[in-house]
Structure formats: C-alpha cells, structure tokens
Amino acid sequence: MASASSAIAATPRVGRLGSHAWLRFGVRRLGRLLISLWVLVTASFLMIHLIPGDPVRAALGPTAPATLVAAKRDEMGLDDPILVQYWHYLQGLFTGDLGTSIVSQLPVSDIVSQRLPATLQLALLAFVVAVAIAVPLGVTMGVLTRRGHGRRTELVFTTSSVVLGIIPDFLVGVGLVYVFGVNLGWLPVAGNDTPSAYVLPVFALAIGPAAILARIIRVEMVTVLEADFVRTARAKRLPKRTVYLGHALPNALTASLTLGGLILSAMVAGTVLVENVFAWPGLGSTIVSSILNKDYQVVQAVVLVYGVGVLLVNTLVDVALALLDPRSMIRED
C-alpha cells in the first residue's frame, strides 16, 4: 500500500521539478551567452578605435601618400559617426562580411575560413590527447594513492604534475622541438603537411592540461572511492576493475568536468603560442603576423573568432555538466 503511494508521489514531483529547472537553466545560460557575445563583439569593434593614431596610416606606413590614406579611410567608413560604423559592423557580422585586409586586399572572411580548420584540428586533437592521457593516469594514481597509500608515489606524481602544469605550452613546444626535432630528428617541427607533423604541436598543447586534469581526477577519485556506493559495489564482490571504472570513474569525471572546461577554453587560446612555435598555418600565426603588420581588420576578426570559440566551449561544458549532474543547474547561481 504505502509503497504504491510513495511511487505515485515520487514520479510527478521529480518530473515537474526537472523540466522547470531545465527551462530556467536554458534561459539563464542562453542569456549569459548572448550578453557575453555582445560584449565581445563591441570590444572587437572598439579595438580599432582605441588604437592611438590612425590605423590606416599605421598599416600603410609613413611613406604612403596622403590621398591613398584618405581614400582607404573613406572606403572603410572610418570618417562616419561612430554609431553608424558600429551599425555597419554589426550588419557585416550578420552577413558574414568581416571587411578587407589592408595588407593583402583579401576579404577577411576568406582568410579566417582558410585558416580556421588547422587551428580547430590542433585544438581538438590536443584535447583528445589530453583526456586520453589524463583519465587513465588520474584513475591509476587515485587508486594507488587512496587512503594515504603510496605517499611517495603521490608526492612524485603531484609535484611533477604541478610543475608540468605550470610550464607554458610554447616552452614545452620548444623543448619538444629540441629533443625530437633537433636532437633525435624523428619528427618534423614545422607546418602540417604530413601526419607526423601533428605529433609535436598536439603534444606541446596537450601535456600541460593533461597534467592538471590528471591531478584533478586523482583527487576526485580518492574522494569518490570513499563513497558509500563504492562500498556497495565492493559488497557485490565485483572485480576491482568494474568497481573503479564502472562505479567510481563516472562520478569522479562529473566532478572534474568544471575545471576540465576551463582547461579546454585555455587550450583554444593556447593555440596562438603553439602555432607560432611550429609555424602552424592556423589563426594563431595569422593573428600575430597581422598584429606585427598592423593589419587590424584581420586582427579584429581573429580575436572575435577566438572569443566566440571560448564562449562556445564554456557553454558546452555547462550543458554537459547539467546533463551529467542535474544538480549543477541549480548550484550555478
């Protein structure tokens, strides 16, 4: 009797709370994304106007004739009132028009779409590699160092992962170039023409985040292994592998995801430096050469693309977290 009534009572309560929470979460998260996007777009618009001096004169050089500079300014609409320019900028964004490069005269959207795939490949591969290293390593270390076991292992692992996590990716890249390119001559150190050329840049980008992520997963594993449901799994006399991977790991991963998301968005930005170490033909090398050439239209667009990438990653992580652990939707504010 009582069991039947409790079954009826439990179902609608969970269901109603669930959909309500999802709606609130969706609206709030979308709102935050839109506001962040607006701030980003406005900042990238203002960038050109905050630069001291005349950006066109800077780009064309001091020897360029004044008539050419004036013509170019007129073409870019730089003499219009600022709100008009802002309006045109927003219009351009919605139609996929990012302006024209002053230096190369190519449409900026062409440059971006030509360069973006290489950067995406690099970032995604590095993320996959980082997770592929961090999860097994973190789980193994968590199991080995649970309940104060393996003090020495823990000290060595934690110290080395702290150190590896602090070293910036481009310095890891320089080290890899030296060891595997210069010294051993095993792998190419520039470009992305062959599959083997991917190895060093991907690892340069992945090693630091892998170390940080592995450390987080270890700490979470050590905590989760003490949970009651792990004791239940042991009471079922499941093989150790099933207890660790089937029961402890999914819960440890949920807890690691928040920080994992921060690492992932840092990885997107990390491509800027790593691409410059390995002459990788992506957005990262484009933005640096454009800054040096004062090709501000291109810089503006690339900053925007990177920013959007980061925002999308952050949003995806929040949604993934909400799917894995519905309680995070409420915790958020």
Partner: protein
C-alpha cells in the same frame, strides 16, 4: 612569524623559497656584473655552439648567450612585477567597486568582471597588446590588464567575506565613510591572501611576458628579456639549440619559483588560491600486522563462524582496536541482533565479517568462515563468487549507497552478470523480478530510473533486492532502518523477516535500537567497547538480562506508557574511546555494580548451561538500576556525539 616558517618546512617550499631568492638576487646583481660581457660583440664567432668560453654559445652578433640570459633576469622580473602591480591595482578597483559604489553599479562591474574572467588570459593580453601597441610598455599594460579580472574577482570575494563581519558593521553604524572603512578595516584584513595571490600572479605574469616577447609583441631590440632571447634563439635552434634552451630554462625556473613560492606560502598560511593547485600534504599512515591463528572446523548447520575477531587501525599513539576479539556463530535461518551504542564496534564487526574493512584497517581472527569457506585467505575468484551470491549486505544510508550515475536495474543486474554469468538481458530480467520480490511497484519502469527518483524506503528495499540477486544464506543488515522515515521502517523489517522465513536465510541485524532487535531476532549480542558483553535469547531481553549494561540499554527505552513530560532515562557517562580503553572491565566507570575487582580485572565471556554468555563479575546480581535523569537537550547531545 611562526606560520611563515611553515613555508620552508616542506622540500618543495624550501626549494621554491631558495629559487625565488636566487632569482631576485640575480635580477639585482646580474646587469651590474655581466653587462659588458653580455654586450661584447664578436663578429668572428657568430652563432657558435656551447664552448668553454661561451657556455650557451653565441648569437648572430657573436654575443654570449649565457651572460645575456643572466642579464635579462632584471628586465624579465621588472616587467613581470610591473604587470602584476597593474593587475593588483586594477583588480582592487574592480573588486571593491560593489563595496564603494553600492549595489546597483557594483553589480554592473561584477557582471563585467565575470564575463572577462571567462576568457583565457592570453586572449585578453593579445587584445590589449593590439590597443597599446607592440613593445615593452604595451605588453606590461596588456598583461597587467589581462590579469586584473581574476584579481578583481578574488578581491570581491575577500571583501565580501570581511565586510559581513561585526567590526565592519560597527564602523558603518558609527557613521564611518565607505572609503575609510575600506582602507582602515577591510583591506588590512585581506592583505595576506592578496599578497600571496599576487606572488603567484607574478609567476604567471613572467610566463605570459615570455610568451608575448616570444611572439615578437613584447620587448623589442636592442632591449632583451628572456622571451626576446627565446624569440631570437628559436630561429637558429638547429644551429645552436642552447640559444633557445638557455632563456627557456630561465623562464621555467623563475616562473616555477614564484608560483611554487606563492603556493607554499598560501599553504603555510592557510590562504585560498585562485588556481587551486593543491600541494601534497605530509601526514603519514602506518599499518601494523598480526599473525592469524589456526582454523577451526565448523558444523554443517553453521552459516557464519567467527572466532577471536579483531579489527585494528593504526593511530597516532599506536594501534587502535575498535573490535577486540569477539566470537559468535550464526546458524541457518537464525536471526542474530547486535546492539550497542555508537562506537561499540558493531558496524565494524559487520564490515569485518563481510571483508569490507578498507585500508588501513586490519582484520584478524582465529576463524572466519562463511558456509565452511575460510574468508581469511587471499581474495580468489571462487571466494568472491561465494561472497557475492551467498552474502547480502544492507547498509544504513540508502540515499548514498547507490551509484547516482547509473540506473537502478543495471546496478542490480551487475551481480548476476558477474557471478552467475548471465547476459545483459536475462540479468536485467532477474533484477526486475527481484525488485518485484521486494515489493517495488512497476519494477519494469523503476528499473530504468536513477536512484534519486526512488524514495528512501524504496531504495532500501532495492538494496535488499540486490542482495537477493544471488541465493543468500546470510543477510547482514547494518542499521537498515535508521535513515528511514518511521512509517517505512516497519515495512523494511517485515520484508527482512519475510525473506528469512521463506528461504531459511540467516540474518545479522545490527542496530542501536534494542526494541527493533528484540522484535526481529532470535538471539541478541550486546557489544560494549569492541567486545561482546552478553549473548542471550531475544525473549529474555526484557527480564532475563544479566549484564548491567544490557539492563541499562533496555531500561533506557521509553515504553508506550512513558510520560513524555518526564525526562528520558539515559545511561550515565560516555562510551569508551577505542583509542583509550581502560584497564579492567570497560564498563566499570558507568556501572552501578562496579567493585574494585572490576577496575583491575577484565571479566571473560562465560557460557552457562543454557548457552547464554555474559562477561561480568557481578552478572545477574540484583540492583535497582540507577538511571540518571537528564533534560532532553542533554540527551540529544549525547546521541549526536
């Protein structure tokens, strides 16, 4: 001062402190001593590899790279510190905005900070580098401003925690201005964590600066910092790798030094850190070993045979024995209750018997047999299978005992899949069948739900159902009803009784509730301080108990007709701390019958002709059991502890 000494007590902290000191000293003296060597041009010896004269080789003008790396320390550190200073100052302005400007404008600033924090620092730095232009000044501003949002958020959190305190309220009530409160009362109280995080930030700024200079956006020739040297060196890495490796190593060493120094200070002072890097703690644990004794044979009828069971944990002052040598047997279909206060060792006994005591605990026994199989031997597959199918465990808290990320059905089915070799489908069918057997309604639908969709009582029944996936000979239930609503407690007890009756399953029911045990069980083991002090038929609990502790437990139960306005009866004194068990009878200090002998000699558990056991020098002696009367709130305090 004492707290600061903690920084150099760990090896990492000491190394970081020494390195940071070395970097700072080098920053001051290196340009004074080696400037001339670093700038000496030698066109006859350009792009040379390492040699005795030039440890790291030379650059394209024949200048010594080793000396240039040393001299670059000053500029690198100066720029990093300048950028950190900007980050701290702007961060302070952003972080205190809501305190100074009031709620509304503060909220706007906070929202801006939150958005900015979401972007990685390098991206912000690039953005500002474009605005401020290529060069050292632009890079300092860029890195400083890029670090400001996270500094601002930290400041905001710190200010919020301090401004809620009484002395700030007092100052506000006294009419002190906001700015003055901030400067006089708030900032002094948050300076410590701010300084620590600024130190760590300086390490990060150093690394970021190297990054910008490496991209060619930072320091420009003829000046040089480490990043610039790296930028120049990477082009000729095939000719002279040392030209890139020397400044690279310098950046890493200095960056790590600042970072780890800050972390170590934070750890020593107990200050929170933005990045949240956790350094290893230093506590150590040691396990002790004790040899097992010879095994005993057991009769066919006995399901569980336990002799001289001990559980030992390592403690700071020697091993702790929460279970100190207990022996009992459980026969087929028998229900044995184990009662005692919290800390008496009853739950650990359950875990020890089922081999679930985790490290660093150790279980020893002269005999520990389930269905005639010795459980003390190594963890074999056959043994796992026996335990997995013949022994069912029911734990206290059904809310936390199921895996929140997996469906109930699969959690039950797992047992059949692993121990009975069933495939996924038939295992799930069995799980649904067992859920039905424990009276869960709509088991097909329920099997696809997650634990949080079950009520507490339903979860506990599912836990019992999980035990029934095999063909259990023994169910060990550790406080199975304690965490449940009173209304469903009886259902769970009835279910256990029904299973026992139907399949002749033995039951060990652990509880602090004498009433529950008396109602469900045939026999009761009373535990005190890790020992069995009395073993008697449940029917004799109310009137035939001979140990004064048992009698006190029974007397402490309020009867149906107890006047609830009267204070509840409790046993005087506190349970024994397992780390400090007194000599003699452990209960003597609380016992109304205690004599001199009780304080020096520990009574053994003696068996009488009827098979009852008791450990007491004064067993069965008549006393008016003195129960101390206390106020209700005091009673609750005792229970909570």
């Amino acid at each position: 001062m004492q707290r600061w000494k903690g920084v150099i007590r760990t090896p990492v902290g000491l190394a970081a402190t020494l390195l940071t000191g070395a970097v700072l000293v080098l920053a001051v003296v290196a340009p004074i001593i080696w400037s001339d060597d670093a700038d000496a041009i030698d066109t006859s010896n350009i792009l040379a590899g390492p040699s005795a004269d030039h440890w790291a080789g030379t650059d394209n003008l024949g200048r010594d790279i080793f000396y240039r790396t040393l001299v670059a320390t000053r500029l690198s550190v100066e720029l990093a510190l300048a950028a950190t200073a900007i980050a701290v100052v702007v961060g302070l302005i952003l972080g205190t905005a809501s305190f100074l400007l009031g709620r509304r404008s503060g909220k706007l600033v906070n929202a801006g900070v939150n958005i900015a924090v979401a972007f990685p620092g390098i991206l912000l730095a690039l953005f500002f580098a474009v605005i401020f232009g290529v060069g050292a000044t632009g890079a300092v501003l860029a890195i400083g401003l890029a670090g400001a949002p996270s500094m601002g958020r930290l400041t905001r959190t710190l200010v919020a925690s301090v401004s809620a305190r009484d002395f700030v309220d007092a100052a506000r009530v006294a009419g002190v201005g906001r700015m003055r409160i901030l400067l006089r009362h708030v900032l002094p109280n948050i300076s410590e964590p701010l300084v620590v995080n600024a130190t760590i930030g300086a390490g990060g700024a150093l690394l970021s600066f190297a990054g910008l200079s490496f991209l060619g956006l930072g320091v420009q020739q003829p000046s040089y910092d480490w990043g610039r040297l790296l930028f120049d060196g990477i082009g000729s890495i095939y000719v002279n790798p040392a030209a890139a490796l020397a400044p690279g190593a310098a950046v890493i060493v200095a960056g790590l030094a600042f970072n780890l120094f800050g972390e170590s200070v934070a750890k020593a002072l107990g200050v929170g850190v933005i990045g949240g890097i956790r350094l290893p703690s230093t506590a150590a644990a040691v396990a002790t070993a004790a040899p097992a004794e010879e095994s005993h044979a057991s009769t066919d009828d006995v399901v569980l045979d336990v002799r001289d069971l001990e559980v030992v944990f390592p403690g700071p002052a020697g091993p702790i024995r929460p279970v100190r040598g207990i022996s009992f047997a459980v026969r087929r279909g028998e229900a044995v209750g184990v009662v005692g206060e919290s800390g008496s060792g009853k739950s650990l006994t359950a875990l020890a018997v089922s081999r679930l005591v985790g490290d660093p605990g150790r279980v020893d026994a002269s005999c520990l047999e389930l269905l005639g199989t010795d459980l003390r031997t190594a963890d074999t597959k056959a043994q796992r299978q026996l335990l997995g199918t013949s022994l069912a465990m029911v734990f206290q808290d059904p809310m936390t005992s199921f895996n929140p990320t997996r469906r109930m059905g699969s959690q039950l089915a797992e047992v059949a899949r692993h121990h009975q070799g069933m495939d996924r489908r038939s295992a799930l069918a069995r799980a649904v069948d067992r859920m039905r057997a424990v009276r869960i309604t709509e088991p097909e639908r329920r099997a696809h739900q997650y634990p949080h969709e079950f009520s507490g009582g339903m979860r506990q029944r599912a836990m019992i159902g999980m035990g029934l996936m095999g063909s259990p000979a023994l169910i060990i239930a550790d406080e199975p009803t304690t965490a449940l609503d009173v209304t469903v407690q009886q259902q769970v007890l009835d279910l256990l009784a029904a299973i026992r009756a139907a399949d002749d399953v033995a039951l060990v029911l652990i509880s602090h509730d004498v009433t529950v045990v008396g109602e469900v069980c045939d026999r009761v083991l009373v535990m005190y301080a890790g020992r069995i002090v009395e073993d008697l038929p449940a029917t004799e609990l109310a009137t035939g108990a001979r140990h004064p502790y048992t009698r006190a437990l029974v007397a402490a139960v309020p009867a149906m007709d107890t006047d609830l306005d009267e204070p509840l009866a409790v046993i005087p004194g506190r349970p024994v701390d397992p780390a400090d068990v007194p000599e003699g009878c452990a209960y003597a200090a609380r016992c109304p019958l205690a004599s001199a002998r009780c304080l020096t000699e520990d009574p053994a558990l003696e068996t009488d002709v009827a098979g009852r056991r008791v450990a007491c020098w004064h067993a069965g002696e008549p006393v008016a059991i003195e129960i101390e009367d206390r106020e209700i709130d005091e009673l609750e305090e005792v229970e909570a502890s």
